[in-house]
Assembly symmetry: C2
Homo-oligomer: 158 residues x 2
């Protein structure tokens, strides 16, 4: 890594500490970089915003997209103080970020009391083996809407 990457990761870790110290939520921070400019930043706000989706990465992605007026960040890099949890990693794929840098690992997060590692384990289990029961029905009616989507004029893919 060069000084450039170290600079942006320090910004992400700085946000993690700031968010924690100011009582916003867990100790996680993130910045999104376009060229050499930070276009989105976030720290965890789950408990202060009553929003379980307000992880640092999600907050930063939403801010960057809002600022750049796009739903795809394919020319941006993301720096996060900790390996993204499955929710954030999913968000990263949907936003199609170019490159991800992280500092601490999911195991470090688990050691600090967070469920990241547990959720990674759950995701690959068959439905019946998961801690949260998940049942499927009315598939045909939902597939019907997908069929309408396939033929929908003017749809925007993402």
């Amino acid at each position: 890594m060069t000084e450039r990457e170290h600079h942006f990761m320090q910004a992400a870790i700085g946000l993690a500490r700031k968010g924690m110290q100011n009582g916003h939520g867990g100790p996680f921070g993130c910045v999104i970089v376009h060229g050499n400019e930070i276009v989105g930043e976030g720290f965890n706000c789950v408990t202060s915003a009553n929003d379980p989706t307000a992880h640092a990465e999600v907050v930063a992605i939403r801010e960057a997209c809002s600022r750049l007026q796009t739903f795809q960040l394919s020319d941006c890099e993301l720096y996060t103080s900790c390996e993204p949890c499955p929710m954030c990693l999913g968000a990263i794929y949907w936003a199609r970020l170019q490159k991800i840098y992280f500092a601490a690992s999911r195991h470090d997060a688990a050691d600090a009391g967070f469920d990241d590692s547990f959720i990674y384990d759950e995701l690959v289990l068959p439905l019946a083996g998961r801690k949260i029961p998940m049942l499927s029905f009315q598939r045909a009616q939902a597939v019907e809407v997908f069929e309408e989507w396939k033929k929908w004029p003017g749809k925007i893919s993402y």
Copy 2:
């Protein structure tokens, strides 16, 4: 399933169709139920809101949490028109929902042009094998913030 569950799933599928027809985004809908009341609903708004995280489930979870003023929905059920993608499944675990019902599968979603199944495949690959490059550095500095968190007075776990 009883008439009750069919009723709520029809509401979720109805939102999927409505969101698509009104140009909000992809054909996905979701409702969150507390007792016998819908406390959160959502349809996909990715392209209209420039927000790659605005999947039906995330929108519904955020709305339910905001309405109930909580970051945990452990006494709520979620009905979604399609098997949650990894991002939404992560959000479901973080919100600690009690039970999940879905209609179409991740494979139906893939067949309609969505990346759900691809992202599930990526999540379990080692970092080096993923389509988005992911690199780790400055772990020690980030772990230091976790150590501060462990000793932080008045922290709220989630």
